[in-house]
């Protein structure tokens, strides 16, 4: 089901990457910042796809690892560490925590798994709220980056882009590897997968660890850029929700899906209701409802059906989507 990309697809991806690399040479700082946000949610969505999309375990943990990475960078940079080293340490810490948590949590299925991961994120927030080293509820300051706005906007943009490329490439190689097939087998039927020789526990833990590394790094970049962290900002369940919804919008379980979803959602939402920032979460809510009802398998699936049946059948496809799961 996961064919290696053809030369044309690789060329397309390369062209996309080149465009992203060249983008800062052509547009204003505001536009660069917008793309940085897109890259950030693309990192979250792509990472969620490892555990939620491929393995079928609905994790609410992205916010937990995002916050963990953000606070790691904040604390270590205040102790004098280099920014890129803190990103590495944050990634390792995220992986270790995911490993330790994964062993008990991944025994759970369905809603219990969702609740446990949600509980982990909320627990981290409560802890960050109360520790002295994190600055508690008052928040924590980071060293300001030196250089003008032109310089640091690009600095953060390219850091975010680097993490995103790393996440996407990892996902590509995982899905074209034995591991990816094993994960999909777990999603389709875990008991059957175990019987055919998939070491389900090991595979699930690997997926969970992979899904925690990149949010931790993204959180680190976010922290340095924001220069100030509060527990309620970075351990926000909305980060997890956005990751899930963008994966769903694009198409769960594919490499391109989360990227398409992140791009569509952030860019369109900015275009359509950039003026109503106050109601951003309300619009997000409406999008979520529409996506769940009409695009449960994502835009990619719909676009494939449209390709084979023509645009005229779009209405029929959407209608069949909404009638698929009703009682």
């Amino acid at each position: 089901m996961f064919r290696p990309w053809s030369h044309i697809q690789w060329l397309g991806m390369g062209a996309g990457l080149l465009a992203l690399i060249l983008l800062p040479s052509f547009v204003e700082n505001d536009e660069i910042r917008k793309w940085m946000d897109i890259l950030m949610v693309a990192i979250l969505a792509t990472s969620w796809n490892f555990i939620g999309g491929l393995t079928g375990y609905p994790s609410f943990a992205p916010a937990a690892f995002f916050g963990l990475g953000a606070y790691t960078t904040a604390i270590l940079m205040n102790a004098g560490f280099n920014f890129f080293i803190t990103l590495g340490i944050g990634a390792c810490l995220g992986a270790l925590v995911a490993l330790a948590l994964g062993v008990p949590i991944l025994r759970l299925r369905g809603h219990y798994f969702a609740i446990a991961t949600f509980g982990v994120a909320e627990f981290f927030r409560e802890v960050a709220d109360n520790l002295r080293i994190t600055g508690g509820g008052d928040g924590i300051n980071l060293p300001q980056i030196t250089g003008g706005p032109d310089y640091f906007t690009r600095f953060f943009y390219f850091s975010m882009l680097g993490v995103a490329v790393l996440a996407v490439l990892t996902q590509y190689f995982v899905t074209r590897h034995r591991l990816g097939y094993g994960l999909v087998a777990i999603r389709e039927n875990e008991d059957a997968a175990a019987m055919t020789g998939v070491d389900t526990t090991k595979y699930k833990i690997i997926a969970f660890v992979l899904s925690s590394i990149f949010p931790a790094m993204g959180g680190g970049v976010y922290a340095y850029r924001a220069a100030f962290l509060e527990p309620i900002d970075v351990f926000d369940v909305l980060f997890s929700i956005k990751a899930i919804v963008m994966s769903m919008l694009g198409g769960v379980g594919t490499v391109m899906g989360p990227l398409v979803g992140a791009l569509m959602m952030e860019y369109l939402s900015d275009y359509l209701w950039g003026a109503f920032t106050e109601f951003h979460s309300a619009f997000l809510g409406i999008i979520i409802v529409l996506v769940v009802l009409f695009l449960p398998r994502g835009l990619m699936a719909v676009s494939q059906e449209v390709k084979s049946r023509g645009w005229g059948s779009l209405g029929v496809i959407l209608k069949s989507n909404i009638q698929r799961f009703k009682v």
Binding site: G110, A114, I115, V120, E122, I287, F325, K326, V327
Partner: protein
């Protein structure tokens, strides 16, 4: 003496917690929906009571039925119009759907009600009953008694009425219930409506003893998560036990670890129970 007072406070709090979680447990147990809107219905029910008191001076305990009935119909409509469309989809679809509605409703609530914390302050708010040297706040004990009473009514309804039986039959086996002539779409909508009404009732009670704001729904929702996981799904005793355990753990934890970590204790408990016995302490097999 301090311990006695904390014990009493814990039990009173635990009763309210149980009341908060009952509707959530019902919806989860019957339809396998993790209802993110539960806290939102609770918050809206609290606001019904608050505005009735503020605008018309209606006593909070008298506006309880209004809050329950209005949220029953709201919940019925949500289930019939939206959730029923995807109820057979992989389970986290309904979770995400209710989350989307939650974002929308909470945002509107902040717009219309403002983000301020509100609390109903009837004339008898400060009374307390002396009891063997301890003091029992009058409002809290009334909330406790009412909460337990309403939970018992729900228990009776589920066990003894025709609709209650249909709900239980649907939970046991959806297809067989349908073959026996149960209108699943309607039963699901009624169940969800009852869940919403139970949430609204506890919201009204909470608005008297505590304070509510549009964003406090998440707090009550995560309490419901914890209580249902500790107690287990599928029975109302589970919700009562979970509520009491959480109430005790929070109050005694605050005493020993400091009030700052009070909320963290619940999450530790949640993860511990999931680790040791994922179906909950009193949960029955097959309801997870």
């Amino acid at each position: 003496m301090v311990y006695g007072q904390i014990l009493i406070n814990s039990i009173l709090l635990g009763g309210i917690y149980a009341c908060i979680a009952v509707g959530f447990s019902l919806v989860w147990g019957v339809m396998n929906i993790l209802n993110i809107l539960h806290g939102t219905f609770l918050m809206l029910g609290g606001y019904v009571t608050f505005w009735m008191f503020k605008l018309y001076g209606v006593d909070p305990f008298l506006s309880l039925p209004l809050s329950a009935v209005s949220m029953f119909f709201a919940g019925y409509a949500v289930q019939r119009g939206l959730i029923n469309k995807i109820v057979r989809a992989p389970m986290f679809m309904s979770l995400i759907l209710t989350f989307g509605l939650q974002l929308l409703i909470v945002r509107l609530a902040i717009y219309f009600f403002t983000g301020d914390f509100r609390s109903v302050q009837p004339s008898y708010a400060g009374f307390s009953i002396p009891f063997m040297g301890l003091s029992i706040p009058f409002v809290r004990i009334s909330i406790f008694v009412l909460g337990v009473l309403l939970t018992s009514i729900l228990f009776w309804f589920m066990g003894r009425t025709r609709t209650g039986r249909a709900i239980r039959a649907t939970r046991m086996d959806l297809d067989s219930a349908q073959l026996m002539g149960v209108d699943i779409g309607r039963i699901y909508a009624i169940t969800y409506g009852i869940g919403a009404a139970a949430a609204a009732t506890s919201g009204s009670l909470v608005s008297v003893g505590f304070a509510i704001s549009p964003v406090s729904d998440v707090e009550f929702l995560s309490k419901s998560f914890i209580i249902c996981t500790i107690g287990g799904l599928g029975n109302i005793t589970g919700a009562l036990a979970g509520g009491l355990i959480l109430g005790l753990a929070e109050n005694f934890g605050a005493l020993y670890l400091g009030p700052g970590l009070q909320n963290a204790i619940g999450y530790v408990l949640l993860i511990l129970v999931l680790f040791i016995k994922p179906s909950g302490l009193l949960g029955r097999k097959g309801f997870e």
